[in-house]
């Protein structure tokens, strides 16, 4: 980088900033590292708008920001099980499908998902699963079940996700109970499993597992497919497998906020990310699975056949899409989780 290039880019940046103050605006908030750098700039160029793009790390942070109904954001990406609450709280606007011509690009099963039957309120953006990542070379035999995370051999080398629903889900599924159980007894049994597992657990971490798996500190872990895929990119010894019991699948969806005064432009943005080439590029960059069928066929063969990101139909049949739990159960789970951690 020589001085001239730097000065030129600084000047260009300032000029763009000045001129764009007069251009149209769109405010988009998404998960961190969840879009390709080109997507936003391409959209800005094609539609002559300036996009303010910010990120958040979990659904609660998103909620905290938009709950007032006066946050200034237009498009956000909640996880699928938060769409009902958002609708109940009158925070999201119904979608106008006349403007969303690219919706037909989606896979059939994502066109009427269980969380939003007619896609009245949201469009699926990217999806992933939570399963078991492991090091094929340093850890054997290959895990096949949630039980494998309770084996004594894993001591000190195993991590679990730092998420109540995912750890409870794994424990419940291990016991053969409902992954999304709202039954207090079931939850207590699951808690006992978690307390029994605690001495083996190296840490409860989510995205940090990526680096630890690549470096070899962690040999087996409960993790998301996306995290595992990113780790596999960095270390080919690693692999990801979905257990033979039920496991969780999550879909992050784009919604338009009710407070938005730029609904037309927001619809354009949603339609834009439904384009096959755009969705394919995003999926490849962030290493997660796209729900867009026309985008899927654009992906390289090796990715299409990757069982990590796109498990086959038989495996997918075991997936559970977690739905919103009643407040009393949320409170119980939190209490049991705190007890387990403090034990």
């Amino acid at each position: 980088m020589n001085r001239r290039t730097f000065l030129m880019s600084a000047a260009a940046g300032t000029l763009t900033a000045c001129s764009s103050r007069n251009a149209r605006r769109l405010n988009v908030m998404n998960w961190g590292d969840y879009i390709s750098p080109n997507t936003i700039s391409n959209f800005e160029r094609e539609f002559q708008v300036r996009v303010r793009y910010a990120t958040y790390e979990n659904n609660e942070e998103l909620f905290g920001k938009i709950m007032s109904g006066n946050s200034g954001w237009d498009v956000v990406f909640p996880t699928h099980n938060r769409i009902d609450p958002l609708r109940d709280m009158n925070l999201i606007a119904p979608l106008d499908h006349a403007r969303l011509t690219n919706v037909q690009n989606l896979f059939a099963r994502f066109k009427n998902p269980v969380w939003d039957r007619n896609l009245d309120w949201s469009i699926p953006y990217m999806w992933t699963t939570s399963g078991i990542g492991y090091n094929r070379v340093k850890y054997s035999p290959a895990p096949t079940s949630w039980r494998d995370l309770w084996r004594p051999e894993t001591k000190g080398k195993m991590t679990m996700l730092d998420d109540i629903d995912d750890v409870f889900g794994a424990a419940l599924a291990k016991l053969g109970l409902d992954y999304n159980s709202a039954n207090a007894d079931d939850l207590r049994k699951a808690q006992r499993e978690l307390i029994a597992q605690k001495p083996l657990v190296r840490a409860y971490i989510s995205t940090e597992a990526r680096d630890q798996m690549v470096a070899g500190d962690v040999l087996i872990c409960e993790t998301f497919a996306t995290t595992a895929q990113l780790a596999i990119d960095g270390n080919p010894d690693l692999a990801y497998v979905l257990p033979k019991e039920p496991y969780a699948a999550y879909c992050d969806c784009a919604v338009i906020l009710n407070e938005s005064k730029r609904r037309e432009l927001a619809h354009e943005f949603l339609n834009f990310i439904l384009r096959p080439d755009v969705s394919a590029e995003i999926a490849q960059t962030i290493r997660t699975a796209t729900p867009n069928e026309k985008a899927f066929v654009l992906l390289p063969k090796s990715t299409q056949e990757s069982q990590t990101l796109y498990p086959d139909a038989a495996t997918l049949a075991r997936a559970e899409w977690p739905l919103t739990l009643p407040p009393a159960i949320v409170r119980l789970r939190d209490r049991l989780w705190t007890e387990a951690k403090a034990a």
């Binding site: 980088m1 730097f6 880019s9 940046g13 763009t16 900033a17 405010n27 961190g32 590292d33 303010r52 793009y53 910010a54 990120t55 958040y56 790390e57 942070e61 905290g64 920001k65 007032s68 006066n70 946050s71 200034g72 954001w73 995205t207 940090e208 990526r210 680096d211 690549v214 470096a215 960095g234 270390n235």
Partner: protein, 252 residues
């Protein structure tokens, strides 16, 4: 205690404080994304410079920290002086309380206050709310540090000045203030540091257009080691370190 022995100890402490920075610097030149050394590369620095949002966030952070710490230092110094003359229990205790409050509670309560106020005033969250929030939570730090300094100051000096005909204000300005100035500067430094690194409170009360550097860095780094973030941090250290050395040279 010999200064030389202390100096040796100081080197160890500086090492403790700065070794993580060295780690960051080394990995900012790493060509691989992960913390396994693969080769030398300047890619991440290029990426950092090309990120307009990053530059804007850095500027925002500087503005906020400077304005907030300046105002907090002024208000805090005056307050510490007033409390030193005669205590005001309600104010002191409430300043203590503001220190004890967990950040998320401060953030959420300020957010609730702003939203309630803004319903009548029809404004949105923005730089102004962040600055107000920062003044609010740095105030107590300033008061405590300046107070600690004031406790070592002999009130007889002020009395002597007034006996010689100075007004209260003159006594303060010309006798007390110069003497406690290192304490005031230290307090301002602390306020600036606390402000420039704040994430929780800022992210709650920031508006759409007021992203700060900690917010951007948090977003990039929350997924794990991000070499661009390492590059940014190294740049910050080099820039500020250079500034420190420069100002030292000028003062000589």
């Amino acid at each position: 205690m010999k200064q030389r022995a202390l100096g040796f100890y100081a080197v160890l402490v500086y090492a403790f404080l700065h070794v993580p920075l060295l780690v960051l610097a080394v990995f900012s030149f790493n060509s691989s994304k992960f913390t396994v050394w693969k080769g030398f590369s300047l890619d991440w620095y290029k990426a950092a410079f090309h990120d307009a949002g990053l530059v804007e966030a850095a500027v925002n952070s500087l503005i906020i920290a400077t304005v907030a710490s300046l105002l907090a230092t002024i208000a805090g110094t005056l307050c510490a002086y007033g409390l030193w003359k005669r205590s005001a229990p309600i104010l002191s205790n409430s300043l203590y309380l503001s220190l004890v409050t967990p950040e998320i509670v401060t953030g959420i309560s300020l957010l609730a206050l702003f939203q309630w106020m803004f319903r009548f005033l029809k404004i949105q969250l923005g730089m102004h709310t962040v600055i107000l929030a920062h003044i609010a939570f740095t105030l107590a730090y300033v008061v405590i540090v300046v107070m600690a300094r004031l406790r070592t100051f002999d009130p007889a000096l002020e009395e002597a000045a007034m006996d010689l005909g100075a007004t209260e204000w003159q006594a303060f300005r010309q006798v007390t203030l110069p003497s406690i100035l290192p304490g005031v500067l230290a307090a301002g430094l602390l306020a600036f540091t606390v402000s420039i690194d704040d994430y929780v409170i800022t992210s709650l009360v920031a508006g759409v257009d007021s992203e700060t550097l900690p917010m951007v860095i948090f977003q990039m780094a929350r997924r794990g080691v991000s070499p661009v973030v390492n590059a940014i941090s190294t740049l910050i250290v080099i820039a500020l370190g250079g500034l420190i050395l420069l100002s030292e040279r000028i003062q000589r």
